[in-house]
């Protein structure tokens, strides 16, 4: 398969489109957790119950056309190949938990891949909306629209005092998790993340690296999300997150300006070295690729590099994950083969730009 054709199939709109503040905010996501009344939660329900939930949720949205997202398709986890599931996980359309653990799991996916409704994950229903750039409020609006629609046909487990009842007590209340994925190389290079992360934590928000383990953030990409789901309204949760993100954007921009002023030539050198590695490498590990891609994207944002599209970071961070590489190769790959395949995919992708 040619790379161009593969990209057309592989790239979801949230990876390729540009949204507000997309020089720093890569994507915005909203997730609503809901359960059906009088059914046991997925950790202990019977397969009969699980089957009924898939049917009733799918029936509630089947054939519907929602304002912006197009038609919906049902994917049953049991009927997918492991590699297909892995690709859906790497595109952030389903959770690893749904792909690996759930026998009665399913996912209702919108045509443009902006909306995915996970069924029988930890909760019966998880409505997820994923948008490019900073668009949390827009994502919430669409999630609410789908939620209202499902609720017309399905009785939700809801309590007047503690809201939507979820399997895990950390989601009860609104069942809302809102998150943004941010590229913050300026704050990392100026060693400010150590100061910023604890401050954000105190506001009831969580910061973590989205790729890589523990506190390490591969490619300087961080995810910021709300921790509290009970006691605040959906709008308040989204507004609190937006205001912190707005401050982070301002701090990142001023860090980039300061870097340009104080160490312009060093920064330019770093950017072009990484560009050199990406365009010439024959073997590259995911960690090195992530760091070089982050540098390249910073170089594009700061105007050192022209004629390369901005979404290259978003796109290649996902396309160079093991699942995607294997799908592109058309079969399983050993880790060393992956590194070679990753290098050739990146070189080809950069060639498409010229």
């Amino acid at each position: 398969m040619s790379l161009e054709k593969f990209l057309n199939q592989a790239v979801s709109s949230w990876m390729s489109a540009e949204g507000p503040d997309s020089d720093i905010v890569l994507s915005s996501r909203v997730r609503l957790a809901r359960n059906v009344r009088d059914y046991k939660f997925p950790i202990i329900f019977s397969s009969e119950e699980g089957q009924k939930i898939i049917e009733s949720v799918y029936r509630s949205v089947e054939g519907q056309h929602f304002s912006t997202i197009g038609s919906l398709e049902l994917l049953v986890m049991d009927e997918l190949q492991p590699l297909q599931k892995r690709v859906l996980v790497e595109k952030h359309l389903i959770s690893p938990n749904l792909a690996n653990n759930s026998i009665l799991g399913a996912c209702i996916l919108s045509e443009n891949e902006e909306v995915s409704i996970m069924i029988n994950e930890e909760d019966h229903i998880r409505i997820q909306c994923l948008y490019p750039g900073l668009q949390i409020a827009e994502a919430l609006k669409v999630a609410n629209e789908i939620d209202d629609h499902i609720e017309q046909h399905v009785d939700y487990a809801f309590d007047e005092n503690i809201g939507y009842l979820t399997s895990c007590p950390t989601n009860v209340g609104t069942g809302l998790r809102a998150s943004v994925m941010m590229h913050l190389p300026g704050l990392v290079l100026t060693h400010q993340m150590g100061r910023i992360v604890p401050a954000i934590n105190q506001l009831g928000l969580v910061v973590r690296g989205i790729y890589g383990e523990g506190s390490e953030a591969l490619g300087n990409i961080f995810q910021i999300s709300n921790q509290i789901t009970l006691g605040k309204s959906e709008t308040d949760i989204v507004e609190d997150l937006e205001s912190v993100v707005a401050q982070l954007i301002a701090e990142e921009r001023s860090a980039r300006e300061a870097l340009a002023k104080t160490s312009n030539i060093e920064l330019e050198d770093k950017v072009f070295r990484s560009y050199g590695v990406l365009s010439n490498c024959r073997i590259i590990e995911s960690k090195e690729a992530a760091n070089c891609l982050s540098d390249l994207r910073l170089g594009i944002d700061m105007g050192y590099i022209k004629n390369i599209s901005k979404n290259i970071l978003n796109e290649l961070m996902i396309l160079t994950q093991p699942g995607f590489l294997q799908q592109y190769a058309g079969g399983p790959l050993r880790p060393d083969e992956r590194d070679a395949r990753r290098a050739s995919l990146i070189r080809e992708r950069l060639n498409l730009e010229q």
Partner: protein, 180 residues
Amino acid sequence: MLCQECNERPATLHFTKIDNGEKTMMHLCQHCAQEKGEAFMLNSAFSINNLLAGLLNFHNHVQQAEKAPVIKKEPLQCEACSMTYQQFIQIGRFGCANCYEAFKEQINPILRRLHSGNGAHNGKIPSRIGGGIHLRKNIETLKQSIQELITREEFEKAAEIRDQIRSLEKQLDLRDEGGN
């Protein structure tokens, strides 16, 4: 870099272990990492689940210590899904929506702790099954504003609000009757 276990194959997996603030690095090849796999998995089991279970357990101990001497009771269990409170503590997940009611006394303080002191839902209400709740919440907010208006001596406005409350209460009555 060569794998530090076999010193033959290149190291492709790099582990950072932080133990009591001390950082140790391990560089392994795919093969050796798989062999050592179990040792790593033990450590990575430290997740939100375990943290939550820890929090729930801790709370239990405190309660028991306060209520000495302990009277042996039937194990607390949800009648709808037969999950026991002990099971909930271990997995940190409820078995069904009724568990919230069954373990109410135990979990309400924990909910507050998990959500920064908040214990009451303040967000969306499902429109179809929550119609009555909508009305009651509206009436509550109007009653609060009526008090404010009275203290500011804006009686005309207060009278308007009072009429609004009456009409909402009528709707609520009709609704409840219709439901029966």
